[in-house]
Symmetry: C2
Subunit: 431 residues, 2 copies
C-alpha cells in the first residue's frame, strides 16, 4: 500500500451528535473506516449505516443499490425484551441479529463479522467488474467499536491486546480489497479513501479502545483527540504515493469530492459545507478554510490555519465523571478539560496546533500572536453564524417502540418481536 496522506482531515458534527444511537432512527454519522469507492451508479454499503434504522432511512431508500450490514453498531447483547438485538440486513430485509445468527463472543472477543463484510465487499467488486459496471462501495466495519472483536486467526496476535487484533484484521482486509482492485486491473481508476468518523473512544481504553497519540481527550469531545483523524487517499497513477497534505478537511468534504470525481456540480438549492478535496490530493493545492466544531447546537470551537479557538470548553459533567466516565483519562489541562460548560466566547482559548497539537498551552491573551489570531478568527465565525440556517432537530424524540423489534423480513425468519407501547419522550443526552 502506498498511500498519500491528507494531513489533518477531521469531521465536524454540525447539528449531529457523535456516537451510536439506538433510539430514534435518525441521521447519526458513525461507524468506522470507510474505504473503497469508485464513482458512478451501482453503489453498495456494507456494515454500519447509522443514518437511521427505520424503513424510510434505509440505504436502499437513499441511493444505494445493495446493502449488507446493520443500521446500528453491534451493541448488546440485548434481551429482546427491554431492547431488541440489532438486526443485520441483506438489502431490504433482515437476515438475522447480532448475538443470534451473527454471534459475537463477548468473553473471548471472537466474531467472524469482519470476514463476512470482507467477503461481501470482494464479491461485490468482482460482480461489478464482471459486468463492467462502475461502482461506489461504502465499507464501514465496526470491529474496533466496543465491544471490540476479531476473528479467530487474528485473536491474540497483537501486542496491543484485543483492540490491536481488531485493527490487524481491518488492516488485512483493506489490503485484500486493494489487492483485488490491482488483480482486476482497476486500481488506476478506483479512488479509495480511508478514514474514521471520530477519535478513539478513550472511555473504552485501553482494552476496548484506541489511542489518540499526542492529542487531547477522545471521542465525544471537541478537542483534537475527538475530532482529528488520520486519512489516506489511494488512487494509483493519480495521487502520488507517500505525499502528505496539510489541507484541513472534514468527512463532509467526501460528498463534494465524490461529486467532483463524477464530474458533477454540488446542488445549488442548499448550502453545502463540503470542499472538493481533489485539488489538494491531485495537485497539492491548499485551500484555507475554517472547520467548525459543534456539540448539539453549540459552536464549541473553530480551527483556522494553525489556530484553534475554543468558545466553550467541556468534557463531560462532574456527575458522569464521578461515575468513572472519563473522556480524557490521564489528561488534565487546567481550565481546558473542564467538567462544567465554561464559556469563552468573548476571549476564546486559542492554541497553535502546529507547536501544540495536544492543546496543552493556551496562548497568552496578552500576546500579539493571540490578538492576531483572534482578529482573523472573529470575522470568519461571524460570517458562519450569520449564514447559518437552523436545521430541524432530529434527535429530540426518543421512543422505545421504534427500536428494531420487527424489521422488514422478520416474519420469514420467525424473528419478529412485539414492540412496547409507543411512548415518545424527550431524549436525554448527558454529553
Amino acid at each position: 500500500m502506498a498511500p498519500a496522506e491528507t494531513g489533518r482531515p477531521r469531521e465536524t458534527v454540525a447539528g449531529l451528535r457523535q456516537g451510536c444511537t439506538h433510539r430514534e432512527g435518525v441521521p447519526v454519522m458513525t461507524g468506522a473506516p470507510c474505504p473503497a469507492w469508485q464513482l458512478h451508479p451501482g453503489p453498495a454499503v456494507f456494515c454500519s449505516w447509522h443514518l437511521g434504522h427505520r424503513p424510510q432511512f434505509h440505504p436502499l431508500k437513499h441511493g444505494f443499490d445493495e446493502w449488507f450490514g446493520s443500521p446500528n453498531c453491534h451493541f448488546g447483547p440485548y434481551d429482546n425484551k427491554a431492547r431488541p438485538n440489532i438486526p443485520v440486513y441483506r438489502d431490504q430485509e433482515m437476515v438475522g441479529r447480532f448475538y443470534e445468527e451473527f454471534p459475537i463472543n463477548l468473553k473471548t472477543g471472537e466474531a467472524n463479522l469482519t470476514q463476512i463484510y470482507l467477503q461481501e465487499a470482494l464479491e461485490f467488486i468482482q460482480r461489478q467488474q464482471a459486468a463492467h459496471r462502475p461502482f461506489f462501495l461504502y465499507w464501514a466495519v465496526d470491529a474496533t467499536h466496543a465491544p471490540v472483536y476479531a476473528s479467530k486467526p487474528f485473536l491474540g496476535t497483537s501486542q496491543r491486546g484485543r483492540y490491536g487484533d481488531a485493527i490487524r484484521e481491518l488492516d488485512d482486509s483493506v489490503g485484500r480489497i486493494l489487492r483485488l482492485l490491482r488483480d482486476l486491473s482497476i486500481a488506476e481508476n478506483t479512488f479509495v479513501f480511508f478514514t474514521s468518523d471520530n477519535g478513539a473512544a478513550l472511555i473504552s481504553a485501553p482494552r476496548q479502545g484506541g489511542s489518540n497519540g499526542p492529542f487531547l481527550c477522545g471521542k465525544q469531545t471537541t478537542f483534537e483527540g475527538g475530532m482529528r483523524e488520520p486519512a489516506i487517499a489511494w488512487w494509483p497513477g493519480h495521487i502520488p504515493a507517500g505525499q502528505v497534505s496539510h489541507q484541513l478537511g472534514s468527512i463532509m468534504d467526501l460528498f463534494t469530492t465524490s461529486l467532483s470525481l463524477a464530474g458533477l456540480e454540488p446542488p445549488r438549492d442548499r448550502a453545502i459545507d463540503g470542499l472538493d478535496l481533489l485539488p489538494a490530493m491531485l495537485q497539492g493545492r491548499l485551500t484555507d478554510r475554517p472547520i467548525f466544531y459543534y456539540r448539539g447546537n453549540t459552536l464549541m470551537a473553530v480551527t483556522l490555519g494553525q489556530y484553534k479557538a475554543h468558545f466553550w470548553t467541556w468534557t463531560n459533567s462532574w456527575e458522569e465523571f464521578k461515575q468513572g466516565i472519563d473522556f480524557c483519562p490521564g489528561q488534565n489541562v487546567s481550565g481546558v478539560t473542564t467538567h462544567s460548560q465554561e464559556e469563552h466566547t468573548k476571549l476564546p482559548l486559542i492554541f497553535h496546533l502546529g507547536r501544540d497539537p495536544g492543546e496543552r498551552f493556551p496562548l497568552s491573551v496578552a500576546s500579539i500572536e493571540y490578538l492576531d489570531a483572534l482578529r482573523r478568527i472573529t470575522p470568519v465565525v461571524q460570517q458562519h453564524q450569520e449564514a447559518l440556517v437552523p436545521g430541524q432537530p432530529q434527535l429530540n424524540v426518543c421512543n422505545r417502540a421504534v427500536m428494531n423489534w420487527a424489521p422488514p423480513g422478520c416474519e420469514k425468519l420467525g424473528k419478529c418481536l412485539t414492540p412496547p407501547e409507543s411512548v415518545p419522550e424527550k431524549c436525554s443526552w448527558p454529553h
Copy 2:
C-alpha cells in the same frame, strides 16, 4: 533513507543523572541524536560530549582521535563572571565560546552551529575515506536542546515552530551524511545508528521542546515519555529496510554492539549491562531482558516483556511544581504522576505497555494478570539487586572553580578567565 527501526530501545541511567551538567566535570550522558559510525580505530566526536569537561575527561583522553565541539550543552549566555560561557574545542584546545565566537541569537533562534558540525562531519568522513581508514564518528548535535536554534535557511520553515526548524535542519543534515556515505560507496560497510538520550524535555514545550506523543511525562522522569526513544539502524545490504524490531534496548547496548561489529568481546573484568543488538537487527532475533530505570541510586521501575513495574513514583517536588516546573504538562494520572516520592516496592504499580503505552491504566492488583506479571518480575529484580556493585558517587561535589574558566588553549585566544575561589560543596539535585 530506508531505516530499519528497532522498536523500543530506551536508555537506562543506572547511577547517572539525566540532563546537562555544568558543575563537576563528571560522566553525564546527554546531548542529542548520535548517528554515523563505522568500526575500527580513528574515532572522532563532534558536538556535545557531556562526559566531563575537565582535561582528564576530554574525548581525546578516552579513545577519540579528533574532537570538534563542546563538553557541555550550549546553555547560557553566561556573564563570564558568575559562570563562564561554555567553550568549543578543536581537539585539545578551545577555539572559542558559545555566544562569543559561536553566536546563538536567543531572540531569533538563529545559530549556524548545526551547519558547522555537519561540515566537520562530512570533512572527517571524506578524510578517512581518502586515507582508506575505517572510522567511528559520534555526531551529537544539540540544536533541539533549549535554547533551540536553527540556521537561517531553516528558521521559520516548519509548522512546528522553532523546535520544528531545528528538527528539519537535523533531518537534512543526517540526510547529507547518509548521501555522502552513498556517494563515497561506503554505505554498505557503514553502520549508522540514530537515537536520542532521553524523551522530549516537556519543561521546555511547546516552543523549545518536543513531544512524547502518547507517552507519559518527559525527560527527567522514569515514565515512558522520559525513557522511551525512537531508534533507527541503517546499514544497507545488511539490515533489511523498513523492518521493525520489538527488541527492548538501551543506549548502553551500543557499546556491546560496537564491540560485536568490530569482532571483539566485551571486557570480562567488570559487569557489562549492554546487550549486543546485532542479532536483533540482522536476524530479527529477540532477547528477553529487563531494563531498569533509576533516579540516582533508587530503582524506580523495571520493564520486562510487555510489563513495566513502578517501585517508586515521582515526577518532581510540589515545591518545584508550584514554581511552574512541570515534567508532565497536561497529564495527570492519579497516584502515578505524584509530586511526592511514593513507595510501591511491596506492590508495584504495573502497566501493560502494549495495551497502555501511556501508563494511564495500572493493572488491578487483584487481577491474575497482575499476579502473573509480578511473579515474573520479582526474581529478575532480586537477581539484579543482589548482583549490583555500588559505584563511586560522581555527582556529589560541586565547585564553581572547576567550571570552564580557563580551558586549554585559552591563552592563545586571550580568552582565559579567572576562576573563583575553590569551594567544594555538596551538590543539590532538586529532581
